[in-house]
């Protein structure tokens, strides 16, 4: 549609003119940026960063401007844990943004409960909170041929889905006989939304061709990972995809409303969200 509008406007209104608008960007609202995708059973990892004035350049040479030296505290079911800043070689883009974590021996994401976050950075604090969703339970799954690409497979999953809407990330993998050490990842789905009624239900998840697409000729087993995520993550992810399409798609934002990124970081931007996971393997 935007393509239509764009071409229409440029061709039909050939007497129109395009000009740079004489309006200054508003003053920069400095905010702390936080990313924390916490999967039950895994270690806690949080990235800290900050927003920049649009006209300013990003730089990896100033760690104090890339989320460094922040005080990051995660509260797990009532107990505070101060995360440690990762040390990586200087001038590495891996420093951007700064990563805060603790060894798994000290802290892992629980399978249930509430996680809270407090970040102090450059004199400002932000807080957030996320509840670990109930763990999904895969009953069975099977692969289906993908209708678009014969080298891909879709997944039919049977699971007990809770009543109402629930949100999932689906990862399908294969393990080969010849090279049991390597696992290829045929696809990772977008976040899918399932309306359940508390009973078991079958859903089909389409493979959009992301990741490594070729199915090994002799798969030893298929592995399904089903991550249940919160609505806050779904909204964040959907908005992010839409905004990236707005900004970096091959069409300009003619006539379309801008896409704001929702955030559960109070006083900042980003996402702090917990996920629960279930995995099942099938041997063909």
């Amino acid at each position: 549609m935007r393509k239509i509008a764009a071409i229409f406007l440029t061709c039909f209104l050939s007497f129109s003119c395009q000009k740079e608008f004489g309006i200054d960007l508003p003053e920069h609202e400095w905010k702390i940026v936080v990313e924390g995708y916490l999967t039950s059973g895994d270690s806690v990892l949080v990235r800290v960063n900050e927003t920049r004035q649009y006209e300013n350049q990003f730089s990896v040479d100033d760690p104090t401007r890339n989320g460094g030296n922040a005080d990051v505290i995660v509260n797990v079911n009532g107990v505070d844990y101060r995360l440690q800043q990762y040390s990586l070689p200087p001038s590495s883009t891996l420093l951007y943004p700064t990563i805060y974590s603790l060894p798994a021996s000290q802290l892992v994401v629980p399978h249930q409960g509430v996680l809270s976050l407090k970040v102090n950075y450059r004199g400002k604090s932000v807080i957030s909170q996320s509840t670990v969703p109930l763990q999904p339970k895969i009953i069975s799954f099977r692969t289906l041929p993908n209708k678009v690409n014969s080298k891909l497979f879709d997944l039919e999953i049977e699971a007990a889905f809770p009543s109402g809407l629930s949100y999932y990330l689906v990862q399908g993998s294969t393990e080969t006989i010849k090279d049991t050490a390597s696992i290829v990842m045929p696809f990772l789905s977008d976040i899918i939304v399932v309306e359940g009624n508390g009973e078991k239900k079958k859903i089909v998840v389409q493979n959009r061709g992301r990741g490594i697409v070729a199915i090994p000729q002799s798969p030893r087993r298929f592995i399904l990972t089903l991550k249940r995520v919160n609505k806050e993550f779904y909204d964040f992810d959907a908005a992010l995809r839409a905004q990236l399409d707005d900004l970096y798609g091959n069409k300009k934002l003619l006539g379309r409303e801008i896409t704001e990124i929702p955030s559960n970081i109070s006083g900042g931007v980003g996402i702090f969200t917990a996920m629960s996971v279930d995995t099942l393997s099938v041997f063909p």
Partner: protein, 753 residues
Amino acid sequence: MKIILIFGVAVQLILSRGEAQTGAAIYGYVYDQATGERLEGAVVRCHNSKSFALTNSFGFYSVKTNLNDSTVISVKLIGYQPFARNVFVRDDIRFDVALDPVPIEVQEIVVEGEDISRLQSAMPGKTILRVKQMENIPVPGGEVDVVKLLQTTTGVQTGNEFSNGMYVRGGSFDQNLVLLDGVPVYNINHLFGYFSIFQSEAVHSLELLKSGIPAGYGGRLSSVLNVSLKEGNHEEFKLSGGISLISARLVMEGPLDPDGKSSFLLAARRTYVDPILSLASQSSNRTDLTNLSFYDLTLKTNLTMNSSNRIFFSGYFGGDDFTLKDISNELKETWGNAAYAIRLNSIWSSSFFTNLTFVFSEYRNTYREMSQQSSVEKKPNVNDKMVKVDATYTLSSSSYVSAGLSLVDHRFGVFSGFQETETNQAVILDAVETNAFVSLDWDIIQNIRLTSGARFTSFGSGNYKAIEPRMSVMAGLSRSLSLRMSYDRFYQFIHSLSSFSLMSPGELYYPSTGFLQPEIGNQTSVGVTVLPEDPFDEDARLNISIEGYYKEMENLPQIKYRFSSVDPASLEKEILLGKGRSYGLELNLERTDKIYHLWVNYTWSRALREFPEKNRGNEFPASFQREHNLNITADGRGWESWAIAATFVIASGAPTTLPKGRFSLNGSFPNSNFYGIIDYGDLNTNTLPVYNRLDVGVNYTFPWLGGIWKLQLNVYNVYGYPNPLFNYFDVQSGKLEQVSIGTLPTFGVTFSF
């Protein structure tokens, strides 16, 4: 049962004030002497009973008077010579009145005693435009566009430059009920809003209702736009038409029988942009645009079957065709409306008038995108079949009641936006809508008229029930001053879902179902109309009206990000429901003398939105809000062959959202191709520069080849102010870019035989 009977008799006695025993009725049609067309809005006054009535949309009136008495019947309508006749009333009298039209150059002089008509026509919350009186006003494109004329009136915001978008009193564009001869029309745009679908030569008048909306109308939250087609000349065959920058049009009308009992009107219009574009593409070896065109076909016929029954057929069929093609891809989109109605007007008695209507309306859209890799085709559409009957019963010289029933069978074909997935299969949603309304117009005491009513709706797909009370009180405080207050409640069961801020053919119409609740609106308004003496010219006519309003809306839908599923069960993840609030003050000043006609329309308004998941739940101004909006239009017609008209518009800049900063996620480092994610902060806190432009139109009329010809030269935006057609933020330059149109001269020719 007895209680109901007693109550009914008591109400009848109160409303009739005991006059039923000795009363009689004078009733009939008021029509144009020259063309035979029935005239709406004429004031018919019965002098001995001091009662009056306005002719309805079919030109019918009924006034009560005293039996065995003589009385003067007078009929007045702006643009026509007043009519008066003395009659002796022995029984009910059928009295059809033919009014002589006044030539346009002298028709705006003050006519003694037309205060009621003027007070009615200048009523706050109601705008009536007669195309004949507006045909000199400059609009881009070289032909009169009735919707663009409406955009110069108070309370109507346009959205974008050139667009035919109508945002009435803070409502979105899908909240306007557009009726073409009573048939609902869903998309009124050609060429993405450059033209409306209404061919001006075929249109008799437009009526825009913004408040005090009668209970007979419903289904939209913000306004009713009644577009009345001409009936066709009953007296003689006429041919008219015109050629503009982009299109050519032709209108034929005339009687179908020697007695003038039937007539027809046939209007056709088509663009000729497509061959020009094709030639341009060939000459420049461009293959990226192959077709862009639209067409309209309008037909109306009527037949007077006998003195009591008339039958009408109205039909409209039109559409747009857009094709974009290059070596490997083809993108084609067609869209359009079909609207047909058969109506039967019946006079059952001196007091009882009915209108039975059968309607078919369709909005169709086909979007096809073909490439070497894939082929996507979507056909969102909406299809209505409706039967309705409405009736008017004159109870007394001071009251009449209107009531009606309608049954609508809606069918929606919905599709999932513009993403190619296997789930993009057609989802057909059916909904049966049943409406009933009753409305009472009652002169409580002299000069105070109460219009109260209610509308009852049952909407099938969600099994919704709604009651919409409506009430307005108009008090004539003097012969030149009236006050009106109104309260309206509305429900809207059909929603346009689009992620675009402008009207687009790709919009998806969706019925209320499941998560998508009916939209609800409540509006209160107070207005004053004054007809002061002109201090400079005693022959001039001056109307001033001021109206303030406050409106609240609930369950306003908005697509969250991208529409990926149309399954009603999944709408919760696709749609946000929010609230809206708007308020404002509208000032209209209209001055007419023998030389020029001046309209000054000023609107101060706020249009606000609130969604739980947008702007952190805080209220924000809508993108189409223009806090201040001033339109001044002057139409000079004091010369024999020449007419000059000008429109000046100045309005506050639209609210917009600009980046407050940028950041990156997922460890991705901004580089020359990736500028990060944008933090927009609060929505619509920035304001674009003030919008302003001056349009001038010069018309030269001359006889030639036995007809009347008119040359029209319009210059849009004379001083070339760069008003934005579109704005967009360029992520690479970090600048707000805009596409604007500078000065645009257009030329047109019209003829009439």
